[in-house]
């Protein structure tokens, strides 16, 4: 290797006194520099060949990552679609109030821990920031609860004073309801809220994920709203059994609603993450393939050019010798 470098350097500066290398050391396939007569250089193919090797490796890795993401997606997708049934009764009973005006809102941002999943985390952060702007104002307070490393890194840059909780390593074990409910419990205990807005990517199909906001109200707000009327006002028409008061039932319902909505949101976000990773890795392998094609063309051109140059030198040298005779 060092000798090749020396040869290259030598032939660049002192073309007339370049040493002729021993034939055994030179191998035409792996030569960096072919020395023609008088040390004329030809173009190197080594650089292009290295790039081709690394691009091919990248293509293999991204293809493997796509397969892994596809298999994980199949596993989670069924669970996510089944879990949608958990919060339907709540919405039927309590209605959905995304535009409710409350004093303390807490925005729960769901994101992934790992990267290479396309743009889903940045869309979720954008929606969270928009919610912040919508809900902030005099006497109104917005706090963030961030689930996942990626959103934490992005939000840390400009909203770090409004973050109240961050949660990571949620995806280490397969997602289950117990885990999410413990998390919901922690959030309930640590953060004061009038309304919780959960921002996540809802999974529509493998290529379509929409950032969605699910709103869960605290029991006090529900009581206040039920006095105003509308869908919540019909709560009074329900009969309550079992000796509990309406306020208590509302509290239980609100907590359980939060837990169910969180469970569904976490599953849908996981699905979207896998889907986004699949499409990101797919386009990455395709790009790597295109890059490989272009590099192959360059490599062949370079190789043919060097062969042609060598032929020209040999022939011109031979004809010069003949003419001199």
């Amino acid at each position: 290797m060092a000798m090749t470098v020396f040869r290259r350097e030598g032939s660049r500066f002192l073309p007339s006194i370049a040493a002729r290398p021993i034939a055994a050391i030179r191998s035409p396939l792996s030569s960096d520099q072919e020395d023609g007569p008088l040390g004329v250089r030809s173009i190197s193919t080594q650089v292009v060949r290295n790039r081709m090797k690394s691009v091919k490796n990248i293509q293999k890795i991204t293809k493997a990552m796509k397969m892994v993401a596809a298999s994980k997606l199949r596993a989670v997708q069924g669970r996510a679609e089944n879990s949608r049934g958990l919060w339907h009764p709540f919405t039927a009973l309590l209605g959905d109030n995304p535009s409710i005006d409350v004093k303390k809102s807490v925005v729960v941002t769901l994101s992934s821990d790992k990267g290479l999943c396309g743009g889903i985390n940045s869309t979720v952060v954008k929606v969270s920031r928009a919610l912040y702007k919508l809900n902030a104002g005099p006497e109104k307070d917005v706090k963030f609860v961030i689930v996942g490393e990626k959103a934490k890194a992005i939000m840390f840059r400009d909203s770090k004073n409004d973050i109240s909780l961050t949660v990571t390593e949620l995806n280490k074990n397969p997602l289950n309801y117990a885990q999410v409910s413990v998390l919901a419990d922690d959030i309930l205990k640590n953060v004061e809220f009038d309304a919780l807005r959960i921002v996540y990517n809802k999974f529509h199909s493998v290529v379509a994920f929409l950032p969605t906001v699910a709103t869960v109200l605290s029991p006090e707000i529900i009581e206040k709203e039920s006095e105003v009327g509308g869908k919540l006002g019909e709560l009074d028409s329900y009969e309550i059994e079992g000796g509990e008061t309406k306020g208590e039932i509302l509290q239980n319902l609100a907590e359980f609603q939060f837990s169910c909505v969180m469970f569904n949101a976490v599953l849908e976000n996981a699905c979207s993450e896998m889907g986004a990773r699949m499409s990101a890795m797919d386009s990455s392998s395709r790009n790597a393939g295109e890059m490989l094609d272009r590099l192959t063309l360059t490599y062949n051109r370079t190789r043919q050019a060097s062969i042609t140059t060598e032929l020209i030198e040999i022939i011109s040298g031979a004809s010069a010798l003949e003419a001199a005779k």
Binding site: K160, L170, N173, D186, K189, N190, F256
Partner: protein, 70 residues
């Protein structure tokens, strides 16, 4: 409007409804026989790391896990 009737025992003890229902679910899962019991208890594993923030700085993270140190 909401009269303070006797709160259920678990709320008086500081539990939320979620914790209460989780404990009940755990009791139901423990009623199963092996091998279904091990499968069901597998679905209860909890692991995440929580950290509270104060004034823009994260405090020491708390690991809530059934398998600490893993």
């Amino acid at each position: 409007m909401a009269s303070t009737a006797a709160v259920p025992f678990w709320r008086a003890a500081g539990m939320t409804y979620i914790t209460y229902s989780n404990i009940c679910a755990n009791l139901v899962r423990n009623c199963l026989k092996e091998p279904f019991k091990a499968e069901a208890l597998n679905r209860e594993k909890v692991h995440f790391s929580l950290s509270k923030w104060a004034g823009g700085k994260p405090e020491k993270p708390i690991l809530r896990s059934d398998t600490p140190g893993v």
